[in-house]
């Protein structure tokens, strides 16, 4: 039997506003518990919400970026449920009339093919607070949970996709594309580790060729691309096992644990919450006009697809390289600064995607926290270009730079790494190597043209070794050839 996976995603994106969606409390990350939770956030009697215009603008910008219909009238609703991190007893969200209607997102898969994922809608809502359980806090061992409401009321957009996704790979590409759109727009910091982007995945399987969808499960609150991929793969496997054994899938909410790589049922549909949505009487309908939308549209920052095309066009990068470098706003601007500094887009691309990104991955840090800034890396590449150092020595300088030892010039100076390009000095080195390896020289001179090329490497290697990698490889080749062929 051949199975087909069907996936729909709900993505929560924290908006990068200064204040909460309905109150003037700060949303800065990392504050002391409950110091950014005011009377509105705590649902004190008599308080009223007032919508943050920036949150509204951010949602509209997202809608414009995915070519969605923007609803000129949108309405906030109450989603009713009880949980200690939700002081009002309801979440203010948008149900029937969201701000952003249907749109589309293009993704590119590893095999180079493109696919369109439809967006059902995107709406504005508030985040809940955080519950901290025993063990997280010392001295809280008496059967209590601690509630921090700093996050309560943080503006979110929830992006709901159509069930157009057919594999974990597509889901990850889609999620990454959304990440690059919202960070390019500057409407979210996209910091996954701080919960700025969270995914709920709806997964079902059906026999290939079947029209009807299978029963789906929802795995909630995945906070990394990797966990999302793992959770989907695990869930697909589980569902296929059940179905092939003649069982039935139960519609339920599941939780994935990224540490143990396991998932468990959280609640089934029978006990599922009935949220009893109704329009929020504390908030009036939000009405905007065409000129409001138009103005935001005219000032939209460059989007990932446009940037990718521009990188191909103006830097001569491959579509693949342009996708990697142009996908994310921070990486893109880093690359552009490096290029500007060193004047060589190809070298800049190689370094950003090669040495730099390997190091960042290794150390598990994002490019926005990179200890080497773009100007410094550009400076390093400039020294390769003007033959001050070789590509090999550049890696040594790079390491030193990473450890905060200064600019390329300072490091080259301090460590005396300057490439030897002095003909006299190089000739001496070549002469020495030739004198010390008479047998190899003899072999070389007796060999044919094809073999000679290979054998030349030995001599170059000896000279590089003798010069501690500082000999100018281009000049060495020239001098060596001349001397060996004499």
């Amino acid at each position: 039997m051949e199975w087909e996976t069907v996936i729909g995603l709900e993505v929560h994106v924290q908006l990068a506003t200064q204040t909460k969606i309905f109150s003037g409390s700060s949303t800065a990350f990392g504050a002391e518990p409950n110091t950014q939770a005011n009377a509105v956030d705590l649902a004190m009697p008599g308080t009223l919400p007032v919508l943050n215009e920036q949150a509204l603008k951010n949602a509209i910008m997202f809608g414009l970026a995915i070519n969605a219909d923007i609803n000129k009238k949108s309405v906030f609703d109450r989603k009713n449920y009880f949980y200690p991190d939700l002081p009002k007893g309801y979440q203010t969200t948008q149900m029937d009339e969201p701000i952003v209607g249907a749109g589309t997102v293009e993704i590119q898969l590893k095999n180079g093919s493109h696919k369109t994922i439809r967006i059902h809608h995107a709406h504005l809502e508030e985040d809940a607070g955080k519950s901290l359980h025993e063990g997280v806090l010392s001295g809280m061992g008496h059967g209590s949970s601690g509630i921090d409401l700093n996050r309560a009321g943080t503006p979110l957009i929830e992006i709901v996709s159509e069930p157009d996704i057919r594999s974990a790979e597509e889901a990850v590409e889609f999620a990454k594309k959304l990440h690059s759109i919202v960070t390019s727009l500057g409407i979210s910091d996209g910091e996954m580790s701080q919960g700025s982007m969270r995914f709920d995945v709806n997964v079902s399987v059906r026999l290939k060729g079947e029209e009807e969808f299978g029963t789906r499960t929802e795995t909630k609150n995945l906070n990394s691309f990797k966990f999302m991929e793992e959770a989907i793969e695990l869930e697909v496997e589980r569902q296929i096992d059940i179905l092939e054994d003649g069982g039935e899938i139960i519609q339920e909410t599941r939780l994935y644990n990224g540490d143990t790589k396991t998932a468990r049922s959280m609640r089934s549909k029978e006990e599922a919450n009935d949220y009893r949505y109704f329009p929020c009487p504390d908030l009036l309908p939000v009405v905007i006009d065409d000129s409001y939308i138009e103005e935001l549209g005219n000032n939209l920052p460059e989007l990932p697809d446009a940037r990718q095309a521009r990188f191909v066009e103006s830097y001569g990068l491959s579509e693949y390289d342009a996708g990697i470098l142009g996908g994310e706003a921070t990486t893109a601007s880093f690359f552009e600064t490096v290029t500007e500094q060193c004047g060589d887009a190809k070298l800049a691309a190689n370094w950003v995607m090669g040495e730099l990104s390997a190091k960042l991955n290794n150390e598990e840090i994002g490019i926005n926290h990179c200890p080497i800034n773009a100007e410094q890396l550009g400076g390093l590449i400039s020294r390769i270009k003007d033959n001050t150092i070789s590509g090999k020595i550049a890696k040594t300088v790079f390491e030193a730079m990473w450890n905060g030892e200064g600019t390329a010039d300072e490091i080259i100076e301090a460590k005396d790494l300057k490439q030897v390009s002095d003909t006299g000095a190089l000739e001496t080195m070549v002469d020495e190597v030739i004198a010390n390896n008479t047998e190899q020289v003899e072999n070389y001179r007796n060999a044919d043209e094809g073999k000679r090329k290979k054998m030349l490497g030995f001599f170059v290697g000896q000279i590089m070794k003798a010069s501690k990698g500082q000999a100018n490889p281009g000049m060495i080749n020239q001098i060596l050839l001349k001397k060996l062929n004499d």
Binding site: G24, A37, A39, V50, E53, V75, P84, G139, S145, G146
Partner: protein
Amino acid sequence: MSVQPSDIEKIANLARIRIDEQAVPEVVDRLNDILAMVDKMQAVDTSEVEPMANPLDAHQRLRADTPTEIDQREQFQAIAPEAEQGLYLVPKVIE
């Protein structure tokens, strides 16, 4: 449309409202009276009427994205049943 005692129990549970078992029949009757009136209202032709989210003929006002609030944690926690290390304490919740 009408409700059964089981509906009342479910709604009461969702809303965290305690309704004594003896009171359920009366609540069922009263709610059904209201629903009967709603049924009567359904007879009015509203096909040309736009659904209304709010009775006021006004739009939502918007707020500038500038922090205006100061930290008043001490005052708020002074009236909380229990607080510790800056956190509001509640009976243990684990899903």
